[in-house]
Amino acid sequence: MATPFHLEFEKPIVELEKKIEELNALAADGLDISADVATLEGHVEKTRKDIFANLSRWQTAQVARHINRPFTLDYVKHMFTEFVELHGDRNFGDDHAIVGGLARFDGQPVVVIGHQKGRDTKEKVYRNFGMPNPEGYRKALRLMQMAEQFKLPVITFVDTPGAYPGIGAEERGQAEAIARNLREMASLRTPIIVCVTGEGGSGGALAIAVGDRILMLEHSVYAVISPEGCAAILWSDGTKGEQAAEALKPTAKDIIGLGVIDEIIGEPIGGAHRDHEAMAATLKEAIARNLAELNKLSLDDLVEKRYQKFRAMTRCVE
């Protein structure tokens, strides 16, 4: 987390932190101001807590996209051991916007798959801003089928603005790649735990998000379209993202009542980006607990329950 990066609504915190710095500079001159500093520090914590407890949906979307938010490979580093990255879809290429491989989770061998974003410009381009092409989804499917073959649970991390909308992506069957994953994940005979860690952007997210348990971080978002995309279509104005975010209701709090996710995973105060290790530890506990439950089910039960879970996602009147 090298570069400090602040969101617009974090201004009050940044200002307080500046004051503390100034005071500390005075302290260096020999003044005793430790009491003042302590008061201010308490104030910072309280302000941060208040701000993050009352984020608007648009603000939540910004936290979900925070440049320092932990990405899949950060979770891999903190949660798994012996990670071996596996590449390629065996058809066309290796997509860098999706990573996957074998690893141990508390000793148990698993398959890990997740969207991967970049932090600096070079890496962002290399990761295509976390927007996969069809070969990314096909790589993911190949790894999931391998997991089924070797009876390994699958753990996925979802964090993408969406599947990449490009000419090559269309030509190589972006829609088909996503669709196939939905169908195959629905019937995969091994446990699947999905963690929505950042942006759950539409079909591009769902293509690795059909599972037995869906965990969602407190400040992540999950919706049918990005706020900007929605604004561009419904308001004919891509800058109306804030209004669109309010309308789409994409936060964990919004959607848990709809039965789409199973659990909201609390984040460190001020967001996951402030403490990757603590975030990974909390999430790891939740994954371990859910995995232990799933490991007890027969494969027939597991797959049928997964079917019924998605089958129940309906709101209509007859």
């Binding site: 069957g173 972006q174 829609a175 059909v210 995309g229 709809l258 209509c316």
Partner: protein, 284 residues
């Protein structure tokens, strides 16, 4: 035609030419630009008799020409959408639902029926583009899933005729989940060895393409139908390039291996009958 168009309207003369033709009698074909009697196109299954341009066709008319005797049994005809998110852009979702219902057609964007094609019992889900652009929310996903489950139970082939702008934004995350739900049902159908034929008509995009529409044992398209994941405008804005000629049209998808065949509307019924008899031979 004059060489120069006036930019201001004249005081005494109208600038536009007036030709007194009853509205809608003659139309300029979008395919060949020929002037054709509207009735002629209508009587030809909404296909231009001169150039074969396929116009969109109302869902019920499509079912009439597809199914034996033009008859069927409809399921879940009264299922309606709910504005459970209180979604509001320029209008509320409820207002949009009410406006679509007020047209007096279907009660949501898909019609699900049981019928027969040359004697073979089939479950058909046919999108009605007139209802909110054929968008898929809970109702569409639920009705299609039930169609697939009926096909599974009765061991009947399932046909989905798509014409949709994709997932319905007004139901946000639940619209997205319909993609997973319908695809999960198709997984069961596949395991049971029952045919699923996806018929892609103009336009089929977004979350509908990225779920059941691309999962047919056979994917069949109508000529020149727009079929894609991202809309052409979104792609142009993303890559800042002009799109190639014919991009995302049925013929383009055929060239790229995404659909099995392009079948003109006139031949759809006999070809489907033939395909179904071959695939579903044990039941015939």
């Amino acid at each position: 035609m004059s060489w120069f168009n006036r930019d201001k309207a004249g005081i005494e003369k109208h600038t536009e030419r007036k030709v007194k033709v009853p509205e809608g009698m003659w139309v300029k074909c979008q395919g060949c630009s020929e002037t054709i009697l509207g009735k002629e196109i209508e009587n030809n299954l909404n296909v231009c008799p001169k150039c074969g341009h396929h116009y969109r066709i109302p869902a019920r008319k499509r079912l009439e020409i597809l199914l034996d005797n033009g008859t069927w049994q409809e399921y879940d005809a009264d299922m309606k959408s709910v504005d459970f998110l209180d979604f509001k852009d320029a209008k509320s979702y409820q207002e949009r639902i009410d406006a679509a219902l007020a047209k007096g057609g279907s009660k949501d964007a898909v019609i699900c029926v049981e019928g027969a094609i040359e004697g073979i019992g089939v479950q058909v889900a046919c999108f009605d583009f007139a209802f909110m652009g054929g968008s898929m929310g809970s109702v569409v996903g639920e009705k299609i899933t039930r169609s697939i489950e009926r096909g599974l139970k009765q061991r009947q082939p399932v046909l989905i005729i798509s014409a949709s702008g994709g997932a319905r934004m007004q139901e946000s995350i639940l619209s997205l989940m319909q993609m997973a739900k319908t695809s999960a049902a198709l997984a069961k159908l596949k395991q049971a060895g029952i045919p699923f034929i996806s018929i892609l008509t103009d336009p089929t995009t977004g979350g509908v393409t990225a779920s059941f529409a691309m999962l047919g044992d056979l994917n069949i398209a109508e000529p020149k139908a727009l079929i894609g994941f991202a809309g052409p405008r979104v792609i142009e804005q993303t890559i800042r390039q002009k799109l190639p000629e014919g991009f995302q049209r049925a013929e383009y998808l055929l060239d790229h291996g995404m659909v099995d065949a392009i079948i003109p509307r006139m031949e759809m019924r006999p070809k489907l009958a033939s395909i179904l008899k071959m695939l579903h031979h044990s039941a015939a």
